[in-house]
Amino acid sequence: MIIKGRIFDIQHFCTDDGPGIRTVVFFKGCPLRCIWCHNPEGQCREKELRFLKDSCHMCGNCQEICSLHILGNGVHDIQREHCQLCGKCVDVCIYEALSLVGRDMTVVEILEDVLKDFAFYKNSGGGITLSGGEPFAQPEFAIALLKKSKIADLNTCVETCLYCDSSILDAAMPFVDTFLVDIKELDFKRHKEYTGVDNINILSNLRALDRKGASIILRCPLIPNLNASEDHILSISDLANSLKNVVEIDLEPYHPLGISKCQSLGTVQKYNNFSFMKSEEMDVLSEILKKRTKVPVFIL
């Protein structure tokens, strides 16, 4: 049987997700529930119905074929709890206000798309980046895609939270050029509070990868009032300095785009902060980090 992965986006020409010019494949489904999640459409393993309120013209086409859409008084309500994700409303929505997030694709289908930019990868040392969601939450598919990507002579990166069984990482390692490891929080208790899971398994996986010689980029989202602090930066530097194979640290400033994404999926973002992280604040934190470690630091 040909295995399929559940993907929610493929983005070409990405320049922030590993070396060179890259295409990023976003996997759907994640074991973490970060309260500030930037890609909430990647959390749930199931397909989801997305509704973009601003695109809706209240034409009523969806209401005609499905009673779960209730339009009236300028409001378009969806009884999501009964939705079977049949997609019929999506087909009749000419304004593309309704769409299904997540499609099942084979390795070959994905690579066919990714390889269109092959010339750009070759010149720049770029390639494919698996992201999400959590790629290793679909381990069999992720490894199959990585393997085929290597055969196709692509540079491979995986952006991962490392919350997975260590055997998966061992199996993937031969086909991964660089691991982009998300470090959300280093304090055990707070990690659980922010992400829903503890970080014991994450940190032990990280140390194991390092020991086995994997090339690692640490990716650190900085969230105002939570972890955008000097203390957290110092913990990151301690972590980086304790590892041998960290080649880069990327600091990712918080942005509030996750909130509206949640709204369009009918869910609620717990961390409800509408302001962007200030670039001056990022500069201060990155300077502190640069003083504490020799590893190159970038702000994304």
Binding site: G20, I21, I94, K116, F120, N123, S124
Partner: protein, 684 residues
């Protein structure tokens, strides 16, 4: 930035002062005096009269801090010249500055004397040429006199020395060849002034390969110790300030290869880029000729310049551009000596009469005309065949005669005796550029909307002939009603796989049509064997045509912009930078020497680091490797543009690349400002 350049920048922003406005009035006065009378004289004689009068009478001013002197460039308003039936020569050419640098004014006069052409027309033209060269000499001498007078009254010792140097420079080059870098640069500016005076409203006279012409002077001065790179950069800054008073493109082609294929890059290639990265001037409009030899140092400086936000340089792929010129009929040696005219039109320098914006054609207009008279077809192939037959017929019977009229009008109504002195072939034959004196006689044909046309054909093919969603008649009805049916409208508008998504189907439609069209154009000639050479852009057509332009089959309603240059339409979905460049590169761009521009918007954040700059270089390199002709970039936040719209006084120096040239955002009209904001938001 040097203090002098800061002071000159301040002066630049204060332009136009009351004094400048008075000068403008003086110029218009001279114009009326000369052209209201003497109507019995020929155009070329009157043009020489006009230039002589200006050389003798136009105010001569040397401003504080200047090292390069000469009047700012003022334009005769179009209504005024039309009233007097005096016509622009159209500009958009690149004269042979180098011949003036090598021969000097006296040397050129001798060359005129040696011309073997001796019929009546030749004698009249050559006499006019002599008068204009002598007028230039007089004009330059007046600057020498003014500098001397100012020096005598100057109390600051350093400035006095500078004024004496300006005097000596002008005295030297008013007859003789320039001896130093500064003198050469000064002479180039005087030539530019005279070309603008002669052109009467003409613009886009390109400097061309100035880094090449000036290099021997630079090298010599450095060797004998009277110049270093820092001083040279300051002089280039002084030069940039002067020419920035004219806001229309004065293109300068940097780097590239020599006529024998060897590397032409030199220290000045780099210095021009460095100067433009560090100053706030909008001219010269820098173009970088990219070759396999382009050094890391020049690449790095070019990317730094892009990151500075001024939209420069424009990048050109030597290999494809040179092939395109050979395919249009130049020799390989001449093609290797190409420069850019106006925005992105390639010409061989100093030997081409090629008014690159002379002619226009609107692809989508012809498609709509075709649809208006077409019947239904059984298949897309039959539809397309009939469309091409219609197109060819229109081209031959409607467009070609009007193009011939345009060329005839240039011959009958314009005369350029000065340009003739700097254009290979004209002195030898005794014929003006307008009279087919040049070695190469071309006219540019600028075509609007290849992206929208491709999407329209693709939409018809897919939805009418493959998916049979509706009939051609239904579509025609919808086009007349600006897509009154949302369902049909959106099925056209949101169709996947359009041009720019790098899908085989739309790539093929674009390529096939572009092949057909360039073959059509290049196989026809106007009288006197004039070549028409096509371009896949129409300056500003995408922006200003949209308001009245009717709906097109790709789901574009009236008011939506047409596609820009050779890029995809802004309404096409799922277009990434890489997918668009891949689609563009599949076009036969080596048959479009008159230009096929690509504009991309690049987030400023991504260019902050060295790593980010290198990624941009790889993007450009790969595009060129795939067959790209040209690419230009804006690196600017749309939020910044919006703020500038609200508080223009705080954003005087905010520059943006509009098309083939950059300008200050706040001086643009609202329509264009809004279009640019939307374009940046769309990544173009």
């Amino acid at each position: 930035m040097k203090d002098r350049i800061k002071k000159l920048t301040e002066r630049f922003y204060a332009f136009p002062t009351d004094l400048d406005k008075r000068d403008q009035e003086v110029l218009e006065g001279i114009f009326m005096d000369v052209f209201a009378n003497n109507k019995d004289k020929s155009h070329v004689v009157r043009r020489a009269d006009y230039m002589e009068t200006i050389a003798n009478n136009f105010p001569v001013r040397i401003n504080p801090y200047e090292l390069i002197v000469g009047t700012d460039i003022y334009e005769i308003p179009g209504e005024l010249s039309a009233d007097h039936q005096v016509y622009s020569n159209g500009g958009h050419y690149s004269p042979d500055y180098n011949s003036m640098l090598i021969l000097g004014i006296d040397g050129l006069l001798m060359k005129l004397d040696e011309s073997k052409a001796c019929d009546d027309i030749a004698i009249e033209n050559l006499t006019a040429g002599r008068r204009v060269l002598l007028a230039l000499s007089v004009y330059i001498d007046r600057y020498a006199d003014e500098a001397e007078m100012l020096a005598l009254a100057e109390t600051d010792i350093l400035r006095r020395e500078e004024l004496y140097q300006i005097r000596d420079n002008c005295r030297e080059i008013s007859h003789d060849i320039p001896k130093t870098f500064m003198q050469a640069l000064q002479l180039v500016y005087f030539i530019q002034i005279f070309l603008h005076i002669e052109g009467i409203g003409a613009n886009s006279m390109s400097f061309g390969r100035l880094d090449q012409f000036l290099f021997p002077f630079y090298e010599f001065d450095c060797k004998v110790g009277i110049l270093d790179s820092e001083a040279a950069e300051e002089l280039l800054g002084c030069f940039a300030e002067k020419i920035s008073h004219c806001d229309v493109s004065q293109n300068l082609a940097l780097g590239g290869i020599n006529f024998d294929g060897s590397n032409a890059e030199n220290e000045l290639t780099y210095l021009f880029l460095k100067m433009m990265s560090e100053t706030d001037f909008r001219q010269p409009s820098l173009s970088l000729r990219v070759t396999k030899y382009t050094s890391d140092k020049v690449w790095q400086q070019a990317l730094t310049c892009v990151a500075s936000g001024n939209g420069m340089p424009s990048f050109f792929n030597d290999e494809v551009v040179i092939n395109s010129l050979v395919n249009t009929g130049t020799t390989l040696e001449d093609a290797r000596n190409y420069v850019l005219i106006g925005c992105y039109e390639a010409n061989s320098q100093g030997n081409t009469f090629g008014l690159t914006v002379a002619l226009g054609l609107d692809f989508n207009g012809i498609l709509l005309d075709f649809l208006n008279q077409s019947h239904d077809y059984e298949s897309y192939d039959l539809f397309y065949k009939d469309f091409l037959d219609f197109f060819t017929n229109e081209y031959d019977h409607k467009y070609m005669p009007s193009y011939q009229n345009t060329r005839n009008a240039l011959e009958n109504l314009s005369a350029s005796p000065f340009w003739a002195c700097l254009l290979e072939g004209c002195i030898e034959t005794g014929r003006l550029p307008e009279q087919y004196g040049a070695k190469y006689n071309w006219l540019g044909l600028d075509c609007l909307g290849i992206g929208t046309l491709t999407d329209s054909l693709y939409t018809i093919k897919r939805l009418i002939y493959e998916e049979k969603l509706f009939s051609l008649d239904v579509l025609k009805d919808q086009l007349r009603n600006n897509f009154s049916d949302d369902k049909i409208w959106l099925s056209c508008r949101n169709l996947d796989g359009k041009y720019g998504t790098n899908s085989d189907a739309s790539n093929k439609i674009a390529k096939d049509f572009a092949d057909y069209f360039s073959d059509l154009v290049l196989s026809r000639k106007l009288d006197h064997n004039v070549t028409i050479y096509p371009a896949l852009f129409q300056w500003m057509g995408d922006v200003y045509a949209s308001e009245y332009y009717p709906a097109t089959p790709d789901g574009r309603r009236k008011g939506d912009r047409l596609s820009y240059g050779v890029t995809s339409s802004e309404i096409a979905k799922n277009v990434s930078h890489t997918s668009m460049l891949s689609s563009v590169a599949q076009m036969p761009l080596d048959k479009y020497a008159c230009g096929s521009p690509v504009m991309l918007s690049y987030p400023p954040r991504s260019l902050k680091s060295l790593d980010g700059k290198i990624k941009l270089r790889h993007l450009i390199d790969t595009f060129f490797e795939l067959g790209g002709f040209h690419i230009q970039l804006n690196s600017i936040d749309k939020e910044v543009l919006k703020s500038a719209q609200k508080e223009p006084e705080n954003y005087k120096n905010l520059m943006i690349r509009i098309s083939g040239h950059s300008n200050y955002f706040v001086v643009l009209d609202q329509t264009l400002q809004n279009a640019l904001i939307e374009r940046v938001a769309a990544g173009r």
